[in-house]
């Protein structure tokens, strides 16, 4: 019995090894690139340190940046769990953000109702934008990778039209950026920096640690609970592991896949919360783009588990910050971070295949 436990831990260890080795391998590539551009690696790492871990303000910035990244990662991860590849998180959060913002602009509620309402509307918007690709996948067998990419482009054009024309909130020449009307003050997200200061963490005022952090924590717990403590989550994971087995076990595979797709879209709808409700206070299609694609990388690095996504989104925020540090202090451009991120994913999945093969061989040997 005791021996068994040790063996299981050995497998567990091997499974954790791939993200760690992948991360280290990509650091090696970073050093090679830094040397190739004629910078000293020491200078580069000092630059990264100064911009990320040196001060509590920088750490708080990383935490703040990781909030939208967490939503992006958990959205993609949830779909992955059901075997659905949602590349459309990009369009879903652009659309979800608008629907949430409209609820913030045109509804009148006291804050304790208005804030949950805009959160729910953001989720509904995200889910709505995932609806057609979800239905097309299960009824017409249209691959979601293609349909959601098309829907990303459709969303951008549609939002461009909506914000410029029917929903434009621009006064005469007040601002050059196309945007909607201002969101009601009752729907705006306040900061919780003061709470962290009470805990002894000196978070400066300019860093956004706002209500969206609380939403992220709650959503993370709910997603974990649904996936790993409820029958529904078990069925979703079963569909993701093997469609045939799930079907054979009598699960409603199509319905589960649609549900996972919509939940993924709903979680994606939350990506814009921080920027729209805490930072800007209005909606524009100029909100940060590309987070849907970051979410894919985060889900892969975090191995689709809520806790893994927490770590991966913080890692990703750290990497982005590291990129700014490199750009600021050395002649290494910020874009090197994308090169490193792409390679990191490749390293992780390749090392993962190798260790999986090794584990299989070990198990076979033990079975004999």
């Amino acid at each position: 019995m005791k021996l068994d436990r040790i063996k299981i831990d050995k497998y567990r260890l091997l499974e954790i090894v791939s993200p760690v080795l992948g991360f280290l391998a990509s650091l090696v590539v970073l050093v090679i690139i830094v040397v190739a551009v004629g910078e000293s690696p020491v200078k580069a790492f000092v630059a990264i340190y100064k911009f990320s871990l040196s001060k509590s303000a920088k750490l708080a910035t990383i935490l703040s940046m990781s909030i939208p990244l967490f939503f992006a990662g958990i959205a993609v991860a949830f779909a992955f769990q059901a075997g659905v590849f949602n590349i459309g998180v990009e369009g879903q959060y652009f659309f979800g953000g608008l629907i949430g913002a409209l609820a913030g602009i045109y509804f009148h509620f006291p804050p304790f109702i208005h804030i949950p309402v805009v959160i729910i509307f953001s989720m509904l918007g995200g889910a709505l934008w995932a609806l057609i690709p979800a239905i097309l996948k299960v009824t017409k067998n249209v691959h979601e990778v293609i349909s959601t990419i098309m829907f990303n482009s459709i969303a951008l054009a549609l939002l461009n039209y909506l914000v410029n024309d029917p929903l434009s909130g621009l006064g005469k020449g007040k601002s050059l950026e196309p945007q909607t009307a201002k969101i009601q003050s009752t729907a705006l997200f306040g900061k919780i920096n003061g709470f962290f200061r009470l805990l002894g963490w000196n978070v400066p005022d300019y860093v956004y640690l706002d209500y969206s952090l609380i939403v992220a924590i709650i959503m993370g717990i709910i997603v974990w609970f649904v996936l790993f403590r409820m029958r529904y989550g078990f069925e979703i994971r079963a569909v993701g592991t093997s469609l045939d087995v799930a079907r054979y076990a009598g699960m409603k595979v199509k319905r589960l896949q649609i549900a996972a797709f919509l939940i993924s879209g709903a979680l994606g709808g939350l990506i814009g919360l921080q920027e729209i409700f805490a930072i800007r206070g209005y909606y524009t299609y100029n909100i940060a783009s590309g987070l849907g694609f970051d979410g894919i990388a985060i889900a892969l690095i975090g191995r689709n588990s809520p806790l893994g996504v927490v770590f991966a989104s913080i890692l990703f925020a750290f990497l982005k910050q590291a990129g700014y540090g490199l750009q600021f202090y050395t002649s290494v451009p910020n874009s090197v971070i994308y090169v490193i991120t792409g390679l990191m994913i490749l390293f992780i999945v390749v090392i993962n295949e190798i260790t999986a093969g090794y584990i299989k061989a070990l198990r076979k040997k033990e079975a004999l």
């Binding site: 097309l136 349909s147 054009a157 694609f293 451009p333 874009s335 390679l343 490749l346």
Partner: protein, 291 residues
């Protein structure tokens, strides 16, 4: 519309379709060998940077094209190593390569030209024919050649066998891995042709604008067939040309016209239910010696 205007619409449409069509043709070879290549978008970003860089550096657009083809093949080679040899999920590898390629082009642009999001203009260009880039016209012979290679040569037969039934192909003594490598590398090399027809005068970050993905949709719509893929690409290309030429004359908001090709792609894919079938082993890694 006058006659000369009509001819211009025809050739302009060919020019606009060509980058999508070349990539779609390449994708046919990759997918018929059993490998989904969603990295087309990223590869196109790298090739369209390389053609500008190499043309300026070597003062010849032909050498530029040569190196664009090499660069595209190289990124595709990474995809082949990761997915064929290491059997990693093909979509995961493609997504990672797209992120990698996005960063790589910007990184190189910053390092070579001192600007991250665009290069200087490239004065070395392909000759014009009927007012458009003459390389666009290569599409027709290359499409016919692709059809011939796929259906009328031993190599094509083997490539298709590997994509349909790798176990049987292996039993027959075919080199499954080698053929899949070849298929994937052809798709990368064809993205070099895409770069030659997209905008060889300058590289700007974001200029591929999803054409790699549209090419994938076109390939599926074209039922994994070279001629079908080219015809589907022409549909997307001419829809876009129509928008560009007549946007101001249509009484609906331009954004809706802009959406049209994407909506068309979704509708077309949805309408294809039961009519098209992917190669049987498409997307599945082949593990030698497994039962």
């Amino acid at each position: 519309m006058g006659q000369s205007m009509f001819i211009f619409f025809l050739v302009k449409g060919l020019e606009i379709s060509a980058p999508i069509a070349f990539a779609a043709l390449g994708a046919v070879f990759s997918e018929r060998s059993g490998v989904v290549n969603i990295a087309l978008e990223g590869i196109m970003i790298v090739t369209s940077f390389t053609i500008v860089w190499a043309s300026i550096a070597l003062q010849s657009v032909w050498l530029g094209l040569f190196f664009a083809v090499i660069a595209g093949s190289f990124i595709a080679l990474i995809h082949a190593v990761v997915t064929v040899t290491f059997k990693v999920d093909q979509i995961v590898s493609g997504v990672a390569l797209n992120i990698f390629a996005f960063g790589l082009a910007r990184f190189l642009s910053q390092k070579v030209f001192g600007q991250e999001t665009q290069t200087p203009t490239n004065p070395y260009l392909f000759p014009q024919l009927l007012g458009v880039n003459s390389v666009a016209f290569w599409l027709i012979p290359i499409a016919i050649l692709a059809w011939f290679v796929l259906y009328r040569t031993v190599f094509g037969l083997r490539l298709r066998t590997v994509g349909e039934n790798p176990e049987a192909a292996d039993t027959l003594g075919l080199n499954v891995y080698g053929l899949r490598y070849t298929g994937v590398i052809i798709s990368g090399a064809m993205c070099g042709m895409s770069a030659a027809t997209l905008f060889p005068s300058q590289w700007i970050s974001g200029m591929t604008a999803g054409r790699g993905y549209i090419a994938l949709a076109a390939m599926i719509f074209g039922r994994w067939d070279p001629i079908g893929a080219v015809l589907a690409s022409l549909l997307f290309g001419y829809a876009d040309t129509f928008r560009i030429m007549f946007e101001t004359k249509i009484p609906i908001p331009s954004q809706f016209v802009q959406m049209f090709p994407y909506i068309l792609a979704v509708v077309v894919l949805a309408g294809m239910v039961g009519k098209a079938r992917a190669p049987a082993a498409d997307g599945k890694p082949y593990i030698k010696g497994e039962d």
